[in-house]
Amino acid sequence: MPSDFWQFISGTLRLITKGNRAYYAWVGFLLLLIAIGAAAYVRQLNDGLIATRMRDQVSWGFYIGNFTFLVGVAAAAIMLVIPAYIYDWEPIKEITILGEMLAISALIMCLGFVMVDIGRPDRFWHIIPLVGRLNWPQSMLAWDVIVLNLYLLLNWFVVTYLLFCAYTERHYVKKLVLPLVLLSIPMAVSIHTVTAYLYNGLAARPFWNSAILAPRFLASAFCSGPAILLILLQVLRRTTRLKIKDEAIFKIAELMAYTMGFNLFLTAAEAFKELYSGTEHMVYFQYLLFGLKGHNTLVPYAWASILFGLAAFILFLVPRTRTNWVTLNIGCVLIYASVYIEKGMGLIIPGLTPDALGEIYVYSPSSTEIAVAAGIFAIGFLVFTLMLKAAVPMMLGEFTINRRRRRAGAS
């Protein structure tokens, strides 16, 4: 068994280092982005976070926005796990492993965005449970550290185990996998809920201090995560021998229509409460949707997010546009853009503008922030690409221990 595992590791390494020209070009491109991001990060380490455009008034920005969005992507893996395992719905089952790999990549990006956002990365060990001094259970950030890492570990284990079984041509032990997969469902809900609570619990920031923030997080995540997967599944169908039925894709699209509808409803409920009651808490929504005191940088993005969401909702709700590949893919891109704005800058910036003393500091990311973020996204894409490269042949049974042995025997 241990020797099998070493073969599995060495086989994986061999798979990810060999590929066609397009593969090398893609990996090279990602490595280039990572290098650009790393150079920008070194600059930020030397100068301090002044290299960003965050300041005391808007003390969180692009990094934390991306972090929040990606927690949602990571959580959305369960969107596929629920129907696959609970209802034993076969067409989706084989692709849940893709969702889990997406979750792993998203979580790695999440941790990366937290790491680049903190002012003293040399003190990261202070936040490690048992090693440092975690302020648990008081701090929501302490909770987030715990659940994100547990979720990462859980997904990593399940993916590795399932692939190892595929490689060694064993059937996985259902008694082991099923409870873990079932556990990953509440875990996925919890990572996004805890991340929502992180903002939700701050009475100082009325924009975040709303009871429906966590439900809104979940609803939007269950649109954006599958949107990425739907496009990915189509790519995989074309480039590999992986068979994914149309039925599975359309079913996911249908589920997304419902969650997008719910997400839009919750957003409307929030906006109604703030704008109709018109208390002093309204200023944050005003800043986001209409601009405040002549500052309206967020306005076009906010409305684009809402309109994209509405358009995608209609495209996914109508069976004819849902089952048309062109409109389906347009819908996916619209959803992705809509939620990226809403859960990124559209969440963080109006939460902090106007600031606690009423000042409007107009924030937009600096070139350093954009370069560092591009580097982190490239790391995530690279991790995902490498995992896919190894996983697909194993899932298809093209790359197994017996095939290797047979080949070794023949030669």
């Binding site: 380490l45 030397n46 301090g48 040399d122 001094r133 100082a204």
Partner: protein
């Protein structure tokens, strides 16, 4: 923004090495590479890297930490800087009251605070924010101006409201800190362990008073302007990448002195004292004036009160 962009400080500024110098010992282990890389330009000493939360340190360890800091400051500023760790005085909880009817918005408190507390001059950090408000609006942050700049204060039709750390009895900043780097001490002062803070800035998001400030760059403090009489939790020079805030001048008040802002105020708008002492001025104000707490509805329960004296 290049003017706000001090990179690795130029060699020999103020005859010192400013945070990236050669004075520190190198880490001996594999950790060195990572830790050093993560501090950017810094060479991190093993002692500094491994220092635990202040509340977990033994008396001997505290002594060593303070000796190390004093040595670093001496090398950096070329003069003796004393770092005290004076504990809270038993039977004392500090309270502060600010008379909105007397404050004229001269900002002398702001500058006295910067000087006393060794705040970074570049980029500038100020612990007190004086807001100019419209008399017709009352305390309304949507009509507040932090950057007022008339030829003369007070301006007609306006009043002034200085805001600093309110030393809450239920501080939201303390609750959210993921590593316990900030806490409320027995005398009611909310302190920050600058050597334990990871710089996540969650406390800044949680503070309803904008009282917490971050060292976005290496703080620059001219050697000639260093106040050498410091406290570990107060005005000792801060490193880059950590959060700081008003401590009621902990280095002064725990020795029985008034905070610098109280002393400098030309109008006597600022009152300070022991809330547990029935004969104190602060108690007189609480008993005889009508006071209010800023953002009372958030239930942070400040020990900082505003009142209208006349």
């Amino acid at each position: 923004m290049t003017d706000l962009n001090p990179t690795c400080p130029p060699e020999g500024r103020d005859g010192a090495s400013d945070g990236c110098g050669s004075r520190r010992e190198f880490l001996g282990t594999a950790v060195a590479a990572v830790a050093t890389a993560l501090t950017g330009c810094g060479k991190l000493s093993q002692e500094e890297f491994l220092q635990r939360n202040f509340r977990e340190l033994s008396k001997e360890e505290v002594r060593d930490v303070i000796a190390r800091l004093e040595k670093e400051y001496k090398a950096k500023y070329g003069k003796e800087v004393k770092v005290a760790d004076t504990p809270p005085i038993p039977g004392v909880i500090f309270g502060y009251a600010l008379d909105l009817s007397r404050c004229i918005g001269c900002r002398r408190c702001v500058y006295a605070c910067v000087k006393e507390n060794n705040q970074s001059r570049d980029p500038g950090v100020q612990w007190i924010s004086v807001l100019e408000m419209e008399k017709e609006e009352g305390v309304n942050l949507q009509h507040a101006d932090l950057y007022y700049d008339p030829a003369e204060v007070p301006r007609e039709g306006h009043f002034y409201m200085p805001v600093q750390c309110q030393q809450c009895k239920k501080p939201p900043c303390v609750k959210v800190c993921p590593v316990g780097a900030t806490w409320r001490d027995k005398d009611g002062i909310v302190v920050v362990d600058y050597n334990w803070c990871i710089g996540c800035r969650y406390c800044m998001a949680a503070c309803p008073y904008g009282a917490r400030h971050f060292n976005w760059a290496e703080p620059h403090l001219p050697a000639g302007e260093v106040n050498p009489d410091t406290h570990y939790f107060g005005n000792r020079p801060r490193p880059k990448g950590v959060v700081e805030k008003c401590t009621f001048c902990i280095q002064r008040t725990r020795k029985g002195l008034y905070p610098a802002c109280v002393e400098i105020c030309p109008t006597g708008s600022r009152k300070f004292g022991n809330l547990l002492d029935r004969t104190s001025e602060i108690r007189y104000i609480l008993e005889n004036k009508r006071v209010f707490k800023f953002k009372e509805e958030l239930n942070t329960q400040p020990n900082f009160f505003y009142f209208y004296g006349v």
